[in-house]
Symmetry: C2
Subunit: 213 residues, 2 copies
DNA sequence: GCCTGTGAATCCATTCACAGCT
DNA sequence: AGCTGTGAATGGATTCACAGGC
């Protein structure tokens, strides 16, 4: 039963992965899956799947496997995706626009409730229904009024740290940073930061490619 | 001296991170840095920095620290960023465009030499100098002719796996996948895949936020 | 005194292997 | 027979702590 004893960070990441495969399976009408099948879909070991899930409870049936519908519901509960999350995005360039248009976000409960940019040309532009680009000076006011929970940074890297500071100052405790610098949260304020630095992934590929030959 | 004995994957990722901080420091004119300072810039332990670097040689001076210019050169050598890498991108939507315009890529030696899309409307459009959108049917021919080394997938997720298969079929052995499904390389062909699934990172934030309350 | 490089110790994560349920 | 749930074993990665050089 939902033991709160030190759940590995890697487990949470994988659970999010299982969610994706399970959603797909349910769409295809598959009702049941074994840890073995799910594992190979996600490219992990089957004991890993079972152990990961076991941190949160017993969701399977011995001899049968997991009822996909139920497991999905359980995972959505675990990841707190059974309720909407309110996002504010800073930096409406190509990357920002791509994220806002990303249909999968909405499906999973992530709602962009505000968008900010420093370019005066862009202020006032409507992105989608209800979402109008506002100046960055409004962040503090808007974040409070709209109860923004997660701040997304898609500015050039030169602005990224300053934007992070503004977000934290506005009371936001969770940041997803897409700019290719490591954003550090102001110490103390207990702000979570996830850096999505894909240039690092590219460097990884380059390294491994150069080893192969 | 460059011992090839099992270098942890995490070490490579961090070395790429150090590279970013060091580039910034050099721009600022800082000539020297200690493992301690570099560590806190990157949010890691200082012993970690030293151990990571020690896998590849001895780059520091006891009592002083690391000469940034030299260390940068060494790291670029380690990550094989001392030569250009030829990329092909498939899917020229907002995300693809954002990547192509990303100035940091070019600076680090990554060159987009070809772009593909399935939308007939987009075929023939010029993105930047020399880069014209081609139909996906051309992937195999073009990949060989232009010696594409890394394939970047920025299509909708429904197309991602099929595109990956096409890339591998075209002889590409390295894929960076931005679509929010886990792309699996066709078994056997020794193809490296890095998945940049930022929806997973968001799920992570949601999970941790919900714990804090 | 300052700071690197590294074996040893610790911590964390993955995998094995099997008891137990259906 | 089939498959889950989990302690025990293994394997990796991080951190400690200190010898050694500037």
């Amino acid at each position: 039963m939902v033991r709160e004893t030190k759940i590995p960070g890697a487990t949470i990441e994988r659970i999010a992965l299982y969610l994706r495969s399970l959603e797909e399976l349910l769409d295809k009408g598959v009702p049941l899956i074994s840890s073995d099948k799910l594992a190979s879909l996600c490219g992990v070991n089957s004991a890993q799947v079972r152990k990961d899930l076991s941190y949160f409870g017993e969701f399977g049936v011995r001899g049968l496997g997991y009822e996909i519908h139920d497991l999905l519901k359980a995972i959505r509960g675990i990841l707190a995706l059974d309720r909407p999350w309110r996002l504010g995005i800073v930096g409406v360039g190509n990357m920002g626009t791509a994220l806002i248009r990303h249909e999968k976000f909405f499906k999973r409960g992530y709602r962009f409730v505000a968008a900010f940019d420093s370019d005066p040309e862009k202020i006032g532009k409507k992105l989608v229904h209800n979402l109008i680009i506002q100046p960055m000076s409004e962040i503090k006011k808007v974040a409070g009024a709209l109860k923004i929970e997660i701040g997304v940074i898609t500015t050039p890297s030169s602005q990224a740290q300053a934007v992070a500071d503004m977000l934290v100052d506005a009371g936001i405790r969770s940041i997803l940073n897409f700019s290719p610098i490591q954003v550090r949260p102001p110490k103390g304020k207990g702000c979570l930061v996830e850096n999505v630095d894909f240039t690092v992934k590219l460097d990884n590929l380059a390294y491994h490619l150069s080893k192969i030959h």
